[in-house]
Amino acid sequence: MNPAPALSAKTRRTITCIGAAFLIVSVTLYLALPVVALFFRTTPELFFSSLTTPDVLSALVLSLFTSAVSLGIVILVGTPFAYVHTRNNYPGKVIVDTLIDLPLVLPPAVAGVALLVLWGRVGILGQYLSMFGISIAFTTLAVIMAQIFVASPFYLRQAKSLFEQLDPSYELTARTLGASPLRIFALITLPLTANGLVSGAVMTFGRALGEFGATIMFAGNLPGVTQTMPLAVYVGMEGNFAVGLTISILLVIISFAIMISVRLLARREMSHA
């Protein structure tokens, strides 16, 4: 029996190209089709009329406000924290590292329950605040706390990695030139890591904006107070589908803009390197 004739090099190349193209197209379609489908279920008229309804507007404003505040707190506290954490060795550093990463793998609903158990009206710390008439759970503050808990690791991990990777000779040279630690941090470390920090901040903002599980558990779903965009989508799907759809499209647009910004920043960082 004669062996089957071997495929020519050109045929093999063609088969490889078809296989590769099929793989790329199928993965891209799997990820893109559901998102694109959202845009096909609405019309520009329906989208813009829903956009101006009070429910959508209040969810949009609340989401942007809470995410901006969360991001501000994460940057103000997280940047010096990540710097001090990276530049020093202390007992339990590995545990702190693990705790920073924990919210990334923890189901957000569990994070919400945990926050409620600690800060709720009868929570471990919350009960003492209740004595002074202070209540955190089911307030806008709770939304912010939930967002910080879930989204901060995106910024902290990025900041830690940037500070670790920065060539130590810059900071050491600045020290021998007589600069104080604060001056070195402000004039050398921060500018040299700024692009990466901004891209971490953008990712954090995006994660905060999309936060659902921890928010609904810890802050509830009160329109105008704790009902952020993802929660309004959930409510909309049970009642006014057009509202749910409009907010979903808004979130897709914002998420896309965030990813584009991160890519542009990453490219700028590479060209500076």
Binding site: D167, S169, L172, T173, A174, G178, A179, S180, H272
Partner: protein, 232 residues
């Protein structure tokens, strides 16, 4: 005058060195990679702490394990040029040179005049406003040298300053080093692994192996050793 006697346990061996350098004298520390040369400079600069010993510069005690004196690196008045020159890439040449003077809270007028002087003597006037990250290796090394000298240090230390430079820039940096060490009458320590560097710039040299001084003398008398990896 620099007087150093330091001892520090490193991972594979103990660094145990005595180094002396007179004003205007260039002393070269030569040895293989990992011999402890750069660690010695880091200890003298205050970036790493010695286990025991003492460091004296111009009559001041910078470190003394016996009396627990340990002057912080930022107050030691040592100009230290790292192996990679470590110019701050995000700021212009002018600001790099001014960095130490600003840290010393000098007046704006003093800074402007002083920086102008160093730009001129180092041949950096044309690139004064160029971001240091965009410079060539030779230009970066001259900026680093100018930045270290602009603060008026009592000691200059250069860690492998001629690595990654072409022949012309090596010659130029060696000349500049010799000129300013002599003019400013300060001691200078240069770390290198090439005997040609010792002969070109060194008044005296120490051959260091595994943290210990193996030989000391004038470069032209150096008998030759395993660390003679002269590639140029």
């Amino acid at each position: 005058m620099l007087d150093v006697a330091i001892r520090k346990k490193l991972r594979d061996f103990s660094l145990d060195l005595s180094i002396h350098a007179k004003p205007g004298e260039i002393v070269v520390l030569m040895g293989e990679n990992g011999a402890g040369k750069s660690t010695a400079l880091n200890i003298i600069s205050g970036l790493v702490t010695s286990d025991t010993g003492s460091i004296r510069l111009d009559g001041s005690v910078l470190f003394d394990s016996g009396t627990s004196v340990d002057v912080p690196a930022e107050n030691r008045r040592i100009g230290y040029v790292f192996q990679n020159s470590a110019v701050f890439p995000h700021i212009p040449v002018r600001e790099n040179i001014a960095f130490g003077l600003r840290a010393q809270h000098k007046s704006p007028l003093f800074i402007r005049e002083h920086v102008g002087h160093w730009l001129q003597v180092m041949g950096l006037e044309d690139i004064a406003d160029v971001k240091a990250g965009n410079l060539s290796g030779g230009q970066k090394q001259r900026v680093a040298l100018a930045r270290a000298l602009a603060t008026g240090p009592a000691l200059l230390m250069l860690d492998e300053p001629f690595t990654a430079l072409d022949a012309e820039n090596i010659r130029r940096v060696k000349e500049l080093t010799r000129t300013f060490v002599t003019e400013m009458a300060i001691p200078c320590l240069v770390v290198t692994h090439r005997i040609s560097d010792c002969r070109d710039v060194g008044d005296r040299m120490y051959v260091i192996n595994r943290g210990i001084r193996e030989w000391e003398g004038r470069p032209e008398d150096e008998p030759g050793c395993t660390c003679r990896n002269d590639s140029r």
